[in-house]
Amino acid sequence: MIDQPEMARPEKRLEEVAFRPLLHTTRGWYVWLAALLLLTGVGFFAYAHQFQKGLGVTGMRDTVIWGLYISNFVFFSGVSMAGTFISAILRITGAEWRRPLTRLAELTTVSALLMTSLMPLVDMGRPDRLLYLVRYGRLESPLIWDIMVIPTYLAASIIYLYLFLIPESAVLRDRLNGKVSELRQGLYSLLSLGWQGRPRQRKGLELGAGIMMLIIIPLGVATHSVVSWIFGMTYRAGWDSTIFAPYFAIGALYSGTAMLITLMFVFRRVYHLEEYFTEKHFRYLGYMLAAFGVLYFYFTFAEYLTAGYKLESKDKLLLGNLFFGRYSWLVWPGFIGGQVLPVLLAIHPRTRTMPILFGASLLVNVGMWIKRYVIVVPSLAEPLMPYQWGVYTPTWVELAITVASFAGFALIITIFCKLFPIISVWEMEEGWESEAATVSAPSGSPGGMAATPATISLEGLEGSQSVL
């Protein structure tokens, strides 16, 4: 069915739009790529410097023992939540509007998770002993929970992304034949695993997708829980909290949804995807952003109310400094700009327009990064004994590595988009196909991979007998 000659018009147009970046490279793209490579290169240089001289080249010292690296770690883990998680939820609930969105969402997750995994390595005092984590790892340590869960989530996200790239690679293999280099042709051919769209292959894919969707949702929740427990397992003011795991998970959904809106807007502009990333997509993601934002506000409120009501001495010291003291210049803009304003903008129908939502999503990205920083640094800076508050000023090394992590995040997405369409052509066509199938042949048609994707997982599981 992939080679049907009488391709309907939307298919042709999608092909044109989706394949254009794969076949034509503008000068702007090279400039963008060069900029990203330069920034990541500076980051590598900074890390080489740190590797040689030790963590003394950072602004971290004995009181504030974690800084930008751990803030970035928490931030990127949050960004990673949305993609795969949202994609899986939308697939399971059979939201048809997901189709143009899933690839971008899953890619965001993989890219953000790679950066998440890098940050603790950069933060290690003895990176040469990295493998000790495997050799001597102790299950009792919250850090080992992270070491176990995050790579699992990364692997699952890569598999999940790749599963739908199998038929996509077949599309590219068949339709870009002769238009791309032999090497790329070979790559597509290799990745497609001989996909021909046969019923048996489809069943296998359904099964795999069904299993991965079920695995990925608890894995996403687990990731944000274990990230939070690095902090939650200590006695520190602001960290010593029972709600930290759900608080982080909701924060991650909020932060990740915002990143998805940001990227959607950028891709829409740059790749001219107006037809696919529609006003509806922004509106729906706007609803999600508002819902997660309200939930996050609720958690924030509950967290500070319970501490602020009792005013235990350590909490009093921290809250005083967060809201009225040395960190208030960060806390209030982060709270108003990152939590209140974007939610209001996303709620009100008149401001729920694309450009304003894009602005709101940027505010959330910045606000959530600040929130991460405000979680990490002040709780460490607060004295545990009668000594002075810890001072932390990031050095150029930390700033360079932070910028490089964002550049690296963008770089992975950029390079991926040169090789694969950012809109899943296969999934879009499958949607049209099943739409047509429900009209003409209600069931049993070869292209009938779940008219309502709600049944994907179930069908996939049922199909296991025939596949195995």
Partner: protein, 308 residues
């Protein structure tokens, strides 16, 4: 009045007398009547732990504790020196620049008065630091001392985040070591040489207690404010007098820091404000800055350097 206690006990008498009396105490509590004449090495061998020693002996290992008598601590202001416990520690361990494994804080009390509080590692029984270590680089030895294996520490600093007393410090830069330290026989009980990218802290001078010596801070304290205790044998000494640990703590209303956390520290404090050395309750005094091991001239052969 202020100098009496320190001066009346002569230097030489101080060390030998105290050690003998301490060991006598240990022996008495353990049921050995003639402990005072048993050579030092024998006593330490029979009671000190370590897997290689304990094979033949059924005796429970000693469980080290510390008592700091705040009535006697006034930040070494009357001696016109920097806190001697800190300097003793600095010299003994070649404590890297910027770190203080024992630190003397001036604390504001509940009544608005101030007192001095030396803080070292609490050797918690329910230690938050050992729990969170991802590679088991920090652990309790048989005698209840929390040690760090610097050959295993990966420098994640999770233990520093977990410690509620802010005891742990980190080698952010390459630490300076005394000449010859690189050839020293490193072990967690004697953490020399220091290494970049690893966590450090007070380790109750595990290398000294196994030789029957008091920790460097206790030995250096001119006010006899620091006691080493053994919970197994219920005894403690400050190298001047030997006390029954449990009654000493009970009779003097000893307390532990942040008791409510449930970390069960093995360091007790006896409330006070240096009154035994004439430190008034509202008197402002500034302790001097302790000297580093380099300034004290400590070497591997003579870790006390010019300290004493």
């Amino acid at each position: 009045m202020k100098k009496t206690a320190a001066e009346e006990t002569g230097e030489g008498a101080r060390n030998s007398l105290s050690r003998r009396r301490f060991l006598a105490g240990v022996g008495a509590a353990a049921g050995a009547a003639a402990a005072a004449i048993i050579p030092l090495t024998q006593v330490t061998k029979s009671t000190s732990a370590g897997p290689h020693h304990s094979a033949g002996s059924a005796k429970p290992p000693r469980q080290w504790a510390m008592v700091i008598d705040l009535r006697r601590c006034e930040g070494c202001v009357t001696t016109e020196k920097a806190p001697q416990c800190v300097e003793g520690c600095n010299a003994e361990h070649f404590v890297p620049e910027g770190q203080q494994w024992i630190r003397v804080f001036e604390v504001e009390g509940a009544a608005g008065h101030s007192y001095f509080l030396p803080r070292l590692c609490m050797q918690c029984e329910n230690a938050p630091c050992t729990k969170v270590c991802p590679v088991g680089a920090t652990y309790h030895n048989e005698e209840g001392i929390v040690l760090i294996d610097h050959e295993r520490c990966i420098g994640c600093r999770m233990c520093m985040a977990a410690c509620p007393y802010g005891v742990r410090v980190f080698n952010w830069d390459e630490p300076e070591n005394p000449p010859g330290a690189l050839f020293a026989d490193y072990r967690p009980e004697y953490p020399v040489p220091h290494r970049r990218g690893t966590v450090e802290k007070c380790m109750l001078c595990a290398h000294r207690t196994e030789d029957g010596k008091l920790p460097a801070c206790a030995e250096a304290c001119p006010m006899y404010a620091i006691y080493l205790g053994d919970l197994t044998n219920d005894i403690a000494t400050n190298h001047k007098e030997v006390v029954k640990l449990s009654s000493f703590l009970a009779e003097n209303s000893a307390f532990r820091l942040k008791e409510e956390l449930g970390t069960r520290p093995r360091v007790w404090y006896i409330p006070g404000h240096g009154e035994e050395y004439g430190h008034d309750i509202d008197e402002q005094r500034d302790p001097r800055e302790p000297r580093s091991w380099q300034e004290l001239g400590a070497t591997l052969e003579n870790p006390h350097g010019g300290h004493r």
